[in-house]
Symmetry: C2
Subunit: 475 residues, 2 copies
């Protein structure tokens, strides 16, 4: 028997919810049923699938309050939960437009061989598995799912066992669109369920840590399944002396502490040209000190609790290690504060940091802002590229041209120019991860839909022409 | 010390050549040097890289006789060796044209967010490893290499230890283009060298068997490297009663026995509509019997020796298993014939075959043509899709429309319509492998170059606009 799992509430530390992962046989039955339904889903064509998703968008609106409430309980924060829930509608619309454009074309290709023509077709993978994380539980469970559905796949989603409360109201909204409910199933579960999904599906999308991503990749390889891995980051920001410091500090503060820093694309290291290091730090400290915990109510401030208790330990360890090695803590208490059972981390500006500190090399996933001076652009580039990660980054400089020239040398898939963490709001840039930050195709744009489909080529001999092969004239 | 390895000659079975795989440290040094050179290669731009490859094309022409002779000794067959060597020039030209088109564009994307613009860039992986097989030693060592070079990568190639003689003359031709010689290195070696390459490179292209492909994938996953795997096939052909049998038999004979069937895209199973089964088999047998071994000279016939001695054993086992289970052998001697130390397999038509025979489920990689009747299209589709493979296939019918309708239901990346194995000659169709036949992007067309590059997006804030974030108006 699969064990039921207790779920912690990030605002009070109580285990006040329980999930019931499916038995292995039950999960296999679900997947089998979904595969049968997928045939029909694919045959509906892109117009039919768009219609089903639009219907879901419509009916989901009535469920938004319940979804938002569940998400807020899952994550301990409200404003971001509202944003996540609103994204159901806007991302359905965006992907429906892209899918209609991508999948409606009939592609014929010229052939270099006389009397042979080429027709191209796209054929979806039948069953896609999505394993999604706890930091943006709804948003990141949909980011691969909606394009995969529009491609014609059935999609089974296993959100993190840390934030599973939103699954029930979401499934209730999906149930109102029967054609969709047959090919979109959310299941509760932890690592064991995820491991089973790798065996049962044709392609795995995983968003999460590098450590788990490595395990997913190895298991996928053993079962000969393709994977898309979106893993961690340690995104650097470079601020030159020519930058507008007022703007840079506001933007970097947002990019570092939004969702309490629990975002793969959050800024985790700030390198500032030595000449402007002091005024930069002064401004950043001033602005950070204006922020407040969203406690006792959701509306009391901007900074929510740390969602995962394991993450509380990691952030504390990074702070302990930094202090021990001589870092100066300029804001906050230098640790995650336990208040009524929840863990809260104040936006923390650190200086006197060194490259050997965990806070400069490992993913913190908290609202920490280690700031380090650099001397000359070569030094900045070297520092920015000094981790195993290569997700994204940001550059602030006097002109966009100056910033882009620096950004070209940062190893990362998306570089925000004179702003930070723009991948959170701009959905049109196509990007791949560098180094350990991921494997596989871009999640944005038309390519994000095509990665769920195999290209199939029909190579067509024109009938009337006799075969030129040597067997027709035997020697 | 790495051991030197003796190499068998497929025409006489003698071990008349030796390779000397590099030591692990030596290989690491080569790769390090190549990474340094890659920076310059990338900076040369697509025009510079095209120029270098065109220069290689030019100087390689003088080396063709030596390359052809080495290849012919490696593989025991001459005509295909000539074709492979000629492909150096034609594939350089083809890829140079595609690369110039793909990489010269500057891509700007519209953004949905006001005051933010998007620029896209493509950044090559630094060092690509290519592990290539023995059936078309030169052709398949270049198929990933040339597009990767044009993308801006350095490429280290390890051809099969079974057919390594062509490496020396090829390297001599590469040495004449110094800029290229720094970023294109062929190394001798077997599995151990291949395993080291996975650790030393950033991306692995492997062409070979499913069994080795699985090992490569698992090792790549352990080292967190992306892979492109092009593995085996068991390509089916479907022939309906409406098909032109004269044409179908000629075409399928070619598709089954070219290169003595040692091709991943060769036809390995033929399903013929029951009404025309007998006349089809009669014609196929007649035509097969016109063929001859290319023995004692290269020019004596069309069928070369089996290149790998392990493959001789596999083909013999498939024939033994088929005979034991009741198959009728209509041409040839029913086994690989050992003549003067070489192994020769006559084009073998088999009937009375059943789905439980190895010859119907496992990759034979020899000139075997098991022919099975089907009754109705549903039966044909089910039979065609009944293996773990999904590389390609062929359909012959009275009209192209009829054949395409059937081909749409075959699980495979390329379907030849009223011809067979057209992927061998048509290079413009983009295709992916289905099931166990492979993982990763298409080898044809523009996408084949882009898969060696990461997309990078610059998300650019327009300078003059003040930041809208909530930190500018603290509450």
């Amino acid at each position: 028997m699969t064990q039921s799992l207790p779920v912690r509430n990030p605002r009070n530390g109580k285990y006040d919810y329980t999930i019931h992962p499916p038995e292995a046989t039950e999960l296999a039955t679900i997947c089998q049923k979904m595969r049968r339904a997928q045939t029909h889903w694919q045959a509906m064509g892109v117009a039919g699938r768009v219609a089903a998703l639009q219907q879901w968008k419509k009916v989901s609106q009535a469920m938004l309050p319940a979804i938002i409430e569940a998400l807020a309980t899952d994550t301990g924060r409200k404003a971001e939960s509202v944003l996540e829930a609103q994204l159901i509608a806007s991302s359905i619309d965006r992907w429906c437009n892209i899918a209609t454009e991508v999948l409606s074309q009939k592609i014929e290709k010229p052939s270099s061989i006389p009397f042979i023509s080429i027709q191209q077709e796209l054929e979806p993978y039948e069953l896609v598995g999505v394993i999604s994380p706890w930091n943006f539980p709804l948003l990141l469970s949909l980011i691969d799912t909606i394009p995969a559905l529009l491609a014609g796949c059935a999609v089974i989603v296993k959100p993190s066992e840390i934030t599973p409360r939103f699954i029930k109201p979401l499934m209730q909204s999906i149930a109102q669109v029967p054609a969709l409910a047959e090919v979109l199933v959310y299941v509760e579960g932890a690592g064991q369920t995820g491991a089973q999904l790798i065996e049962l599906t044709d392609l795995i999308c995983f968003t999460g840590s590098v450590a788990t991503g490595l395990k997913v990749y190895e298991s996928a390889a053993r079962h000969f399944k393709p994977v898309f891995l979106e893993l961690g980051g340690k995104d650097p920001a470079i601020v030159t002396a020519t930058a507008n410091l007022e703007h840079a500090t506001s933007s970097l503060l947002w990019g570092s502490v939004v969702n309490a820093g629990q975002s793969c694309l959050s800024i985790e290291r700030i390198y500032v040209e030595d000449r402007v290091f002091e005024p930069f730090v002064d401004l950043l400290v001033q602005k950070a000190n204006r922020l407040q915990f969203a406690y006792p109510t959701y509306e009391s401030g901007q900074i929510g609790p740390i969602i995962s208790d394991k993450q509380i330990a990691i952030i504390n360890e990074h702070l302990r290690d930094a202090k021990e090695k001589g870092a100066h803590i300029l804001t906050g208490s230098g640790q995650v504060e336990m208040i009524d059972g929840g863990g809260w981390c104040f936006p923390t500006v650190l200086t006197n940091v060194t490259p050997d500190m965990k806070v400069m090399t490992e993913e913190t996933f908290g609202p920490l802002m280690p700031v380090m001076p650099f001397h000359g652009i070569e030094d900045a580039i070297e520092k920015a590229n000094s981790t195993i990660f290569g997700l994204s980054g940001a550059v602030f400089a006097g002109t966009n041209e100056e910033a882009i020239a620096i950004g070209k040398r940062i190893k990362g898939g998306a570089i925000s120019i004179n702003d930070s963490a723009l991948t959170a709001v701009v959905h049109e840039g196509e990007k791949n991860s560098f180094k350990m930050s991921g494997i596989g195709g871009t999640r944005m744009g038309a390519a994000a839909i095509r990665r769920f489909m195999r290209q199939k080529a029909f190579l067509i001999k024109q009938q009337a022409i006799p075969s030129p092969w040597w067997f027709d004239s035997p020697h």
